[in-house]
Structure formats: structure tokens, C-alpha cells
Symmetry: C2
Subunit: 437 residues, 2 copies
């Protein structure tokens, strides 16, 4: 049976910035068959489940292009420490104690938070229990790009073993869960993976037509250290070794990059996952995203983990992204409001190399959310695009659909038990604390 | 009858950063008579209305130290224009058409938004219909610092007339509405008020023991223009004319200020209202707030108007304030999490020159809010101070009290009709649009 959502304002996110003031969508087999103004016909209604949107705003589901959902139990731990102390004294001791149960609890917590704030697609870059998470996602119904990331500061044998594990996971799950799961390969970072190892990973990714995800140029110190060792910026080393071309790169952060690097990114179609809140919180700085966009670089937005953010709310990420570019460059028209929305939706889809995702148009995947405009901070309601970027909260999201299936209806999650997830997160965190005492 | 809120986690915001994990408050005559861990005694309970906090978090109501609530109908208007075009083409044409009804509709909209997101005290700097607003606040029950602000680009007669109007309003309403209303005098800005006029206003404020509020050093251009005309930074001119001393100054913004200015502020006990989101959105820059705090300057937080923000959510303001200082200075421990909370509460109270406000301690004004921790983004719940700054949303606020009186209970406003306010905002904005066609 088809599904119709009628009586909605539709933010299509197409190139014309079209907003349908009063319209409906008809969903068939997980895709939009009709996106139209006005009302569905009698014939359409008879063949469909008809849902009244009550004047809500319908927009593409948000796409979170970088994160580590398994770290959400570490939200708020000692976060007044400088970066290195924070990692060494606060985060790593906990992370070393993570087991299957605590990882699962953290990930479920992340799924609840992301769904409730309107995220439909996300990235998980992590090294633990990836198969189990893929199975969870299959059940919960979200869309995700998953990867078993690798750190290469080890023997060649260990490197190979990790890569083999990554590849095996990637091959098994790519296009799995009714096409909702994609996979990537992921060298952790230039400072944790020697160039030769990165080269082997890139070669494997090319062979399997998989995108490659890596942290890049997050902190100034990292770049200084890298230049001391290699005599050049890590992106330049990738270029020199011809590792940028013919590869679908997605770099996380890209805070410390200059004009020539943006040209390299653009030339090779590489994408950036901009994580503004995490970059601020860890004292990393502000990526020159407006400049990247002007260079034609694909830029998506990411939350990074809840340990360094400390939320997984893409509305906040969008707002920070746009406001920062204006403030840092002291220019109110440095970046357009619409570009904020694009980064959180359709540009994010492009950064992750999804086709047919991120806009509300006929033929596109029916991943979308509804927001209730019945809020003081969204009034007067005329300027919907502006409100979505500058005023909306994750909590305004009332309904979440992926592939045309409702994962949240009127604020009730349908495929995951929130109460149970919150209780389990508390339990597992208490256990973790005990192991550290 | 006294009121008891029991079964709450209490964020006292005292100097020891004390959080009472499980406790209660007893309110008598609008003030906290008891703030304690554990449970109220039988005797206490028998003499009180007892409210079960159900494990919620109780913290001081948030204090918004700079704003123009009458501008909320202009939320989201053409906000991709550069600053001057935005003012001239978008904002001022609307603002010139504001009448008593549209101003009232905008202000009520602001009250709803502020209450729902946990603000209990706010500043209104505006020139229209101040008496009517004071009456509204008297009814709604919030706490506010109000002022009829003045622009001095006019004849001496007009200047005097405006100042007289300001003074008359200030004298009539200071300590009005059961002490919930305070008043100030407010020259709009150094570039809209000649030095002589500012001097007359400061003199009047000293005579009446009123604080003085003024925009200061918001944009780089403003400072450059001022230096061209006066040969010095506007703060230095105030110092030269001996207008800083013996006066309770509250400056909004302070984005473009340097080391020597922070020393001047500290020396004269002047306060800054830091408006991070507005400063970013208008391309003004980022105030050096961490440095101000280290200099011992009083710093509160403000949203500015919904036209330049575009929300009035102090949780966001707090988050932006802390994250920006870390990111801009590329130092994760540049500012403490707790300082964010202090700026939004007790430092804000000091900036507005309230005594007995902004902490949960015996004898203090019973202005407080409750938040529900039953949210994924607030789990695990251990790190409450961190969560309030980095993860909490205005929408987590469930209850708001001012002077011990509930203005919101379980998300229901008790003294203002939200539905009516939203409908009136829509109606008045539609009327405004018509007058401009």
C-alpha cells in the first residue's frame, strides 16, 4: 500500500530552493512517487494510507557525515581538560574498558538521540563490534555508512589483519539492510597510519569501489608534527602519492587547510565532513567552510562523537556551521542560509556518495522528517528556511521516516524502546565506572 | 502557604560548584528558606504545598542580559543580506511600521519563547510602548530590567524630551511589580548619541541610582568610524570624560575591545552583555570573553533580538559562548564549563545589578527552573554541569518559577496563553506585511 502525507509545507531542498507552501507526498516502495502542491486525488487516497501532516514542515532527513556512536556513554567526562590530557586521562581509560554490552548501549543511545532530532542517515567510524551494529541498524531502520576503521601503528601483520577485517565487513554489509547500509574503508588518520598503509587501504577501496573515510587536519599541532616528519601537509602527501585520484574520499574536519588544499579537494572530488561543534570544543579551530563551498568542494556536516560535542543534534551543527563562517570572517553574507540546509541534507548525501538522497523530489529515497511549527521560536512562520537554520531545535522534530517507513510518529519511536535504552545506558555507564575504580 | 519542591537534583550555582544529588527546596515569601539534601520533614510538609520533582534538575532561572523583545515579529527576514543592507532594506522598513498592537504581539511572543526555554529575567532595551510592557510583565510574572532607550541624533530639545521620558518611565517602574521590574537609562550607542548627551544621561542615572545600558563596540567598522571622528575608542572617551566611574554600566556586545579596555571595565566595575549568536550572525565577530573573565569583568549573556539571532534560547547562548572561546583561541581549557553556567545565571544577575539572584541558596530569590533529564542527549546523567552547557536544549525545561510562583508547570504556561500569542503574532505580522506592499 502506498503512503500519502498530506497537508504539509514541503522544503524540497532542490536547486531552486523551492518550498511548497501546501502540498503532499505519495510514497511507493520506499521512494517519492509524487511530490506536489495541493491535495491528493480521491483515487490516490483510496489506494493509500493517508496521514494528515496538520500543517507541519516536511524536509529531508538530516545526514550526519562523521561520528562514533559507540562513544556516547562518555558524554561530558572531564571536558574542561586540555585536549591531550582529556584523551589520556578521561577518554582513553574509559574507551579501553568498553565491551560489547557497553558499546551496544552507547550505540542505542546514539540512535535514539539521532532519530529524535531528525537524523536519518549517519556515519559510524569505529573498530569494535561492527557486525552487531549493522544488525541493529537493520532492525531499527535507519540509513548508515559503516566502517571498521584501522590504526596502523603496529606490525605489518597486524595492519594486514585489520585491513582484512575491514574489507570483510565492508563487502558483507555494503548495500545491506534493503540498501540502507553502505560501507567504507577508514584509515583512522595520517598520524596513526603510515603512508604505505594508507596506500594499501586506498588500493583495496579502489578495487572494491568503496569510499574512504579518514580524519584529516583536525588540529594545528597535528599539521605541524606531520610537516616536521614528512615535510608537507598530509593532503599534499596523498596527492604526491597519487592517492587522491580515482578514490571517493571523505575527510573529517579539515580545519587546518589552505587555499591550495581546497583546490586539491575540488580537483579530485574529495568531500569534507565539517564538525563545527567538536572542532570548537576540543580547541581545534574553525574550518574554512565558506571558502570550501566557493571552491566547489562537497561539504557535509557531522557531529563527531558525543564525547566531543556533546550532542548529536544536526540542527545545532547546521546553525554553528553557518553562524561561525559569518562571525569568523566578519561578513554577514559569507555563507547563505540555504547552504547550511544543503550541507545537512543533500550535500551530506553527496559527501557519502549516495545517489537519490537528500531532497524531496519524485524518484528520491523517502527519507524525511516532519517538524511542528507550533513553537514560539518558529513564529512568524513565513521564513521557514531561515527558521530551520537559525531557530529550529531537534526537539521540534515530531516524525521521522526512512525508505518511507515511520521510525518516529508524533514523537514516539516505533522501532527502538527509548526507556529501555536510557536505562541500559545508565546501567552500562555505572558498570564502566566500577571497572575504573 | 510555603512551597516545597522535593526529589530534585539541585545545581546551586554557588562558588563551590555544589550540586545536591538528591534534595529539596522550601520556598517562603518568594525566597528560598531551605535548600537541602535529603527529604523535607513531616512538619515542613504539613505546612507546605509539596511538589514532587521526580528526579528533575533544579537550577537558577536563566538571565538574558540584552534584548529587544519587540522585534520578534522580524525573525528571519532577509537574513542573507550584508549588515547594512539588512538593516536598511529588511529591518528598518518593518520597524518603522510597528504599532502598539504589533509591538505587543512581538513582545508576548518573546515572553512565551523565553519562558519555555527557561529564562526568568530579561532586559528590554527599546523605545516604544514601555509602560504597556511593564504592565504585561506585572501580569505574566517574569523579572525584567526595562528601559526607554534613546537615540540622540536630533535637536537638544528632542534629546531632552526623550531623556525626560526615559527618566519618568524609570522612576515610575523601578522596583515595581513586587520588585520584579528594575529600570535603567539607555543611550542607544556611542555612534547614535553624541558624548554630551551620553554625559547628561549618565548624570541623570547617577542622580537616580540607575544603571546605564548601551551598545558598545559591536562592529569593527563602528570602531574605525568612531576613531576617525573622536581619535579614540568609545570606551576611552567615556573614561576621559570620567563617565565610567560611579556608574553601573552594562555594555552590550564589546566585540572589538582590547586588553586596556578590559582593564577599564574591571576598574570601574562595568559589565558586559555577551551576545555570541547575534555577533556571529551579523558578521560582527567574537568578543574576547575568556579574557574579560580573567580580568574580573562581570560578563552576562544575551540573545539580542530574534531578528539577529534568531532565537531567544539562553541554553544555546551559553553553549556558543563557551565553545567559541575554546575554538577561537584554539585552547580546550580556555574557559571552564562552569563559567558558561555562571554567565547565564549568577554573573548575569550581577551584570544587571540584582542582589540575591542567580543561585539556589537560602535567602535568595526563588527564581528557578526544572529540566527533565529523561532525554537521550542528557544520558548518562552523571555529568550534569557539562550537560547543561553542552547538551541541554531549551525544550528540556519543564517548569519555570519566579519569586516562588510557577509560570510554567509540566510545559504548560500558567500566566500567558500560548495559542493566542502565536495566533496574534501571525495576524500582526500579516498586517505588517500588508502595510509594506
Amino acid at each position: 500500500m502506498d503512503t500519502i502525507i498530506k497537508n504539509v509545507k514541503i522544503i524540497t531542498m532542490n536547486l531552486d530552493k523551492h518550498v511548497i507552501a501546501y502540498g503532499y507526498v505519495l510514497i511507493k516502495d520506499g521512494r517519492f512517487a509524487i511530490v506536489s502542491d495541493g491535495e491528493p486525488t480521491k483515487e490516490q487516497r483510496e489506494k493509500s494510507k493517508v496521514i494528515d501532516g496538520n500543517g507541519k514542515w516536511l524536509m529531508p532527513g538530516l545526514i550526519n557525515t562523521h561520528g562514533h556512536p559507540a562513544m556516547s556513554l562518555l558524554r561530558g567526562i572531564n571536558d574542561d581538560l586540555p585536549l591531550n590530557d582529556w584523551l589520556e586521562q578521561a577518554i582513553w581509560p574509559y574507551e579501553r574498558k568498553l565491551d560489547k554490552k557497553s558499546v551496544q548501549a552507547a550505540r542505542n543511545l546514539s540512535l535514539v538521540e539521532m532519530l529524535e532530532s531528525g537524523t536519518t542517515t549517519f556515519v559510524d567510524m569505529y573498530h569494535l563490534h561492527m557486525h552487531e551494529f549493522a544488525e541493529t541498524i537493520e532492525t531499527v531502520g535507519m540509513r548508515a555508512s559503516l566502517m571498521r576503521s584501522v590504526i596502523g601503528l603496529c606490525s605489518k601483520e597486524e595492519q594486514d589483519e585489520k585491513l582484512a577485517e575491514s574489507l570483510s565487513f565492508a563487502k558483507q554489509w555494503n548495500r545491506g539492510a534493503d540498501g540502507r547500509i553502505r560501507t567504507m574503508l577508514a584509515p583512522h588518520a595520517p598520524y596513526t597510519c603510515p603512508p604505505d598503509y594508507i596506500e594499501r587501504i586506498v588500493q583495496a577501496a579502489r578495487d572494491e569501489s568503496l569510499p574512504v573515510h579518514m580524519h584529516l587536519a583536525e588540529t594545528r599541532k597535528e599539521i605541524h608534527d606531520y610537516m616536521d616528519e614528512h615535510g608537507m601537509h598530509p593532503l599534499e602527501l596523498l596527492e604526491e602519492r597519487q592517492l587522491l585520484e580515482g578514490t571517493d574520499w571523505l575527510f573529517a574536519h579539515g580545519v587546518h587547510m589552505y587555499e591550495q588544499h581546497m583546490e586539491l579537494l575540488q580537483k579530485h572530488g574529495a568531500a569534507i565532513s565539517h564538525n563545527p561543534k567538536s572542532n570548537l570544543k576540543l580547541g581545534s579551530g574553525v574550518a574554512q567552510v565558506a571558502s570550501m563551498l566557493k571552491h566547489g568542494v562537497k561539504v557535509g556536516l557531522g557531529t563527531d562523537s558525543a564525547a566531543s560535542n556533546n550532542a548529536l543534534d544536526m540542527f545545532e551543527e547546521m546553525r554553528f556551521a553557518v553562524l561561525l563562517q559569518r562571525g569568523i570572517n566578519e561578513q554577514a553574507d559569507m555563507i547563505e542560509t540555504y547552504e547550511g540546509l544543503q550541507m545537512a541534507t543533500v550535500f551530506g548525501a553527496k559527501a557519502l556518495r549516495y545517489e537519490g538522497l537528500g531532497t524531496i523530489e519524485t524518484g528520491q529515497e523517502a527519507d524525511f522528517i516532519l517538524l511542528s511549527p507550533n513553537q514560539a521560536h518558529l513564529h512568524p512562520t513565513d521564513h521557514v528556511l531561515s527558521h530551520l537554520v537559525f531557530a529550529a531545535k531537534g526537539s521540534d522534530v515530531t516524525d521521522v521516516y526512512v525508505q518511507g517507513k515511520a521510525l518516529m510518529e508524533n514523537k514516539q519511536l516505533t522501532t527502538i524502546d527509548k526507556e529501555k535504552v536510557l536505562a541500559e545506558a545508565t546501567l552500562q555507564f555505572n558498570n564502566l565506572k566500577k571497572t575504573l575504580q
